[in-house]
Subunit: 432 residues, 2 copies
């Protein structure tokens, strides 16, 4: 065992999360010597604007805008990357590991795209590369998946892993808002960024589900493999219909390890209101996991924010500090030892909720059901809901069928003179 009075670290970035890490390390100052046997000291903080950063911290002499000062400082043993984005974060992390430094990062973009290269480098150098904060903020999920649940064949991960969209859908559900109104409120309250695309189109959730799938199924899944569909087309009407059927609509990241390959996708989904994920509201996140030994488990908490994200990062930093003292860095590295193919979205099987406007005349229902029949789409429920003058609304929930069959049906409907509009196509969660 190696003794350290202090372990010196560098922080790359002093934005919301970076400042959170700075604060949490201060909050733990009195405790850490007892908790982990050493003290963590921030020796350098890399920032773009020295002046702006100086006003935020006690000792501005730790600030630098020169990465080399950190990379070449052998006293710095851990680099905490909280800048976000692909570059220069990627280069800095690689150079840090090449210099034998251990890395903690919250960078989901990077891990979801280049996880393999980064983990390979970590292994090569015997470094720790930890990223608990990259998925679901403060919620412990990476370590539980890699360690606590290692005795399982995990077959399903299903998560509400984007707080912005969950806030918007909660407002649409509870206050009957339309999407635009709920997004405007989210922006006003700071839950949505000025450009909300990555959140509302499901890209942020897609990165997180790629990372979780890689770990859960021991096979590398990158962001490119993930089908993503956002919530911009969801209407208050869809949510009302879902409620009538005992369901809520959530934006879910879904990963399933099936006999024909890995399904990995982000899209809105109807889930039964009795499902534990259905009551995860506002900006909270939750990840639901199924394994052959543990059965169902769920992890719930704050998926973002200054201190919750810092909580995950500092947990990782403390773990590396323990590894340094026990000289066992690299103890848990990449766990992707399989190469399971990714299933095409057309090949997934699911139930579907469909809503369409048709001309209100005899034989229409027969016409619609004939199309479904010809595409082998079995129907669980079909209701002619309401009439709007000449038009009638038909709402369908299918049995579990192939995505491609549903799509082919919709293509046929679009060609039919009696079908005025296909208003919604939303996947439905259900046991097979």
């Amino acid at each position: 065992m190696k003794e350290y009075k202090t372990i010196q670290v560098a922080l790359l970035g002093l934005g919301t999360v970076g400042f959170g890490v700075y604060k949490v390390l201060q909050m733990q100052k009195e405790e850490m010597r007892y908790k982990i046997g050493t003290e963590i000291e921030i020796k350098k903080i890399l920032v773009r604007n020295l002046e702006k950063a100086a006003s935020r911290i006690e000792d501005p002499s730790v600030l630098t805008n020169d990465w080399k000062e950190i990379a070449e400082d052998d006293e710095i043993q851990i680099v905490i990357e909280v800048m976000g984005g692909m570059e220069p974060a990627r280069t800095y992390i690689m150079e840090a590991m090449q210099a034998g430094k251990h890395v903690v990062t919250a960078n989901k973009d990077l891990i979801a795209a280049d996880g393999k290269e980064l983990m390979d480098e970590a292994k090569e150098m015997g470094c720790d590369l930890l990223f608990e904060a990259a998925v679901a903020g403060g919620i412990p999920i990476i370590r539980p998946l890699k360690q606590c649940l290692a005795g399982n064949h995990l077959t399903e991960i299903m998560g509400i892993i984007n707080g912005t969209t969950n806030f918007i859908l909660t407002k649409m559900t509870q206050d009957n808002m339309e999407f635009d109104e709920a997004l405007a409120l989210a922006t006003k309250l700071g839950y949505a960024e000025a450009d909300p695309t990555a959140d509302i189109e499901g890209l942020d959730a897609g990165r997180k589900v790629a990372i979780m799938a890689s770990i859960a199924f021991n096979s590398r899944v990158t962001f490119d493999d993930v089908y993503t569909e956002g919530i911009t087309k969801i209407t208050a009407a869809d949510i009302r219909y879902a409620k009538e059927m005992g369901c809520d609509i959530k934006l879910l990241g879904v990963a399933r390890n099936t006999p024909d390959g890995i399904e990995v996708r982000v899209h809105p989904m109807l889930i039964p209101s009795t499902h534990p994920l259905a009551s995860v509201n506002d900006s909270f996140n939750a990840v639901f996991v199924h394994g052959d030994a543990v059965d169902d488990a769920m992890f719930y908490g704050r998926g973002a924010g200054e201190l919750p994200t810092a909580s995950a990062i500092v947990g990782d930093v403390f773990d590396i500090a323990r590894n340094l003292q026990y000289e066992c860095n690299g103890r848990i590295s990449c766990t992707c030892y399989k190469e399971i193919p990714i299933k095409k979205m057309d090949d997934i099987e699911c139930k579907y909720f469909l809503r369409m406007l048709v001309k209100n005349r005899p034989g229409v229902l027969a016409g619609v059901t004939t199309v479904f029949g010809s595409q082998m789409v079995s129907i669980e429920q079909i209701i002619q809901k309401k009439k709007f003058g000449e038009l009638a609304e038909i709402v369908v929930i299918t049995e579990t069928v192939k995505e491609s069959s549903v799509k082919a049906s919709l293509e046929e409907f679009e060609k039919m003179e009696i079908v005025k509009e296909i208003s919604a196509m939303i996947r439905v969660y259900g046991e097979d």
Copy 2:
């Protein structure tokens, strides 16, 4: 790094959980070499009845009824204790560690009573002593508390950590059963043991909350410190009244780190139906945690059962296997480095739900409120509910007050001629 083709382990006990571990290790046979770099092989299984056990496993030659055969076998590096109870489990675990073996146990009775002595011995010998399965079965909670959330001052833990009582309360809530009927059903379905005392009186939950409090607050809490009160006095009527007030009744293990000391207790509690714990039903468990960085987090899943409990145990065994290869056993040992006093139950502060039958005559309400006033008990809500002939029912919810003040009020009521019966006194969860 040390290479092992196989790591040999011994299983103490082949009951429900023991057989689960046997099965899960078989289920992971093909995977473990890749997952953890070595294979785990069960070299010995200690059982009482060799013949009975022989019919359950593939190779009966691993069975023994002689502990010495295991203790003295230097090839056995990990002992998995799943016998339960205090003795001989305690002696075996101590002797195993004295022989330099690492230990995984699911034994909450033992850890809640003698955790300090066992962890001291582990530290002395540089052994791992892991017990993820001792609290909340398959749900990852020990490792998240010790590692993932180490960057927090945790201030509150609140858990549904007994499946039997949660099943009973769920049936009482959803099907309007009385306690006896729900217990009979639980027994019939195998959720309750022949002697259900430890479950329904809150002792089992008390052991688990003692273990969690010790880890969360870094200060040793033993089972003796825990106030326990079961669910035998809860009636279907209490649950109906709670529902009217927007609450559910759950048996909760509560631990709070307050400026005047640690509160640690198990009792039924009214919690708002919107709280994430309120929708944890049937035999599911969940643990809710609050920390200064992570804010709220919750862990949900199967709190018992053959395979879920084995999932937690095998996760621990895999972790020790990694430590053996990296020669870093003992990397995370006892984390109780403080000595925080335990608060007396009389000194806790809470809201209270009280239900009493009084004589239906003028001035009764004034009499009752005068008593509360004299004991400094502020009232949030008081309702005269119904009349039964000569009697009227009064339901009270207090503001947050001292437990001793409520008790003193109840003592005064018992002396009063106008008070016929105190039907219920149940604590209420609420923000202070």
